[in-house]
Amino acid sequence: MKKGLILFLAVLMIAASFTFMGCSNKEAKAGAPQKLTVWCWDPNFNGYSMGKAVEVYKATHPDVEIEIVDVPDNIEGKIEAGLQAGGAGLPDISLFQDFIIEKFIQNYPGAFVDLKAEGIDHSQFAQYKVAPMTDGDKIYGIPFDTGSTGLFLRTDMIAAAGLNPDDYQKSMTWSEVIALGEKVKAKTGMPLIAYDNTSFDFLRIMVQSTGTQFFDKSGKVMYDTPAVKKSLAYIKEMDDKGILFMAEGWNNWVAAFNNDQSAGLMNALWIIGTLKSKPENAGKWMVVPTPLVEGVANAQAASNNGGSSWYVLSATKKKDLAVDFLKSTWAGTTPEALGFYNEILKGAGAMGTFLPSRSGSNYTAKDEFFYKSQAVYKDFSAWMEKVPVLYYTSNYTAMRTALGNAMQAMLSGNITNVDGVIEAAAAEYKQTTGN
């Protein structure tokens, strides 16, 4: 029996040591000076784009190794944990959503490298992207992509309603869009726009097109603005008239416009990849500018949804290398750097916000997938110039959760008017933030 016991204990010991040795720290070589780590979250989108930038840099710096790590979810939580642990496990460079970065800049002073001081010329980027990363005279990031928006419409369904799609290939106001929706609905029974009830995107696009946000200058939440009220009223009107396909979540929303249950959608250009996953729809889609919110000062026929930027974390031991890498690729004016911007537009549908890069051939190319081979990227790029400067402030997520919930209550009929929505949102915001 003793033997068996010893055997049992031995198995335990082996298992234990296996745990420690088998997965012991292999990153000792991370101390090598020529290696950078970058975090981002979609290997086919921003990961792909960063990969192209790395190729450009490696052509002139063959001894530098840059590892791109895909952090699919909760990248902010992970960075937060790292910052709390004094910089442990953090990458040298990370991608952040534009609407989230202000929270980090405010809560973690000094966590990011001031790239303006490192000599990057931010005037070469779309200015609406630079605003959120600016704090006083410091500018912390390098803008990546634009979420320039448009209204996507199915020309075949408009034609089926007895209308000529060409008449609508122009900048419209929301009233005109509603009129079009009513005609399409009356003739074909088809709702004009697929609306994702679980998402904040639609309202965000509308409100941001007026150049305002949901906060006042001091960072206090402000739901009761003409832009918010007007946008909510439009959404309610469209819902009442049956112009919206009420989708429940992303998959239902994608099915709604890819599987012929609605005649269009409004979102940013990065949705094109999803449209193209249905090759049968080639030649049927057209894109028109974001509809205009009438009666609100400074409203534009352009807006933004999504978009992110690159930041160098101060905890890095290789600041100079990280800055040099970003500077000579994402802010580089060499033909190679401009060429990679052109390449990622085609390869990933990612449109950069570095202004000199917009002369690339893919920006003006006609796209066979769209109605009459519309040069969609040329249009989105032009609309991007008109996107108003945006500030998100550090409570953006709490704000959008509260307003999104109140809006859901409106669309399910539990709140019947716009003022009620604003009231409910303000109440929930106060409770969840404690101020």
């Binding site: 335990l12 296996f18 745990t19 997965c23 979609d42 290997p43 699919p72 239902n252």
Partner: protein, 274 residues
Amino acid sequence: MAIVRRKMTPGWFILLVFFVIGALLSLFPFIWMVIGMTQNPNDVVAGKLIPGKEFALNWQKISTTYETVSFFLNSMKIAFITVILGIAVNSLAAFGFEKYPSKARDRVFGVLLLTLIIPQMAIVIPLFKEISFMKLLNTHAAIILPSVMSVFIIFFLRQNFKMFPTEIMEAARVDGAAELSIFVFIVIPTMKATFASASIYMFLTQWNSYLWPLMTILTDKMKTLPIAMFSVMRAYTIEYGGLMILVCISTFPILVLFLAMQKQFVQGLTGSVK
């Protein structure tokens, strides 16, 4: 062809009908995801149940983006080591709590039960600090060590050890067996079903764990399967067909494990107490 062991009464018949319907409901999602592997993303979201022809394409998309094989092996390694260590540590503890009763140990057990309820995210930040202090970030040990001790498993094993007759232990002691060897040579072999299900649950929990590995793993070569699944889910263009392939890959090992352990459920304590 008697499927049923008893006399067929109307009540029994109705019960059986519901039993079969319940089985069909359980089976359906499984069939759906196997079909989903072969479909175009748009057919997956449409909920179609006819197999498509895009398996090769879906596989190609997934395997070029993710190192599926390496993720799979990492997940396997982490889950297996957790089960081996976990079963050893937890079964000893459960046996200690149950068969060596004392007031003090019962109080300790009460404290353990209390912490069963604490949401994992409440301790993520302090635990992360601790792991980084131990220089274990980006190691598989960072995932394994915190999940070795499981109050749930100790509780489960303890409830089952209640059914192990103490008389057998007494008899073995009279024969001069040491306490640990009673456990290893008598208890473990007689309670195979219990140990099998505890192993399955530990494996399952670790195999599917997501939030904590996401926090502690910093490089692609150390990643696990659930991270890849969420990566597909969070993409700007979601490849639903490819996602279903990952889902199936992550489902089958547990299924195989369960089937392999099935035979343990058929044996039992029968005849151990005469």
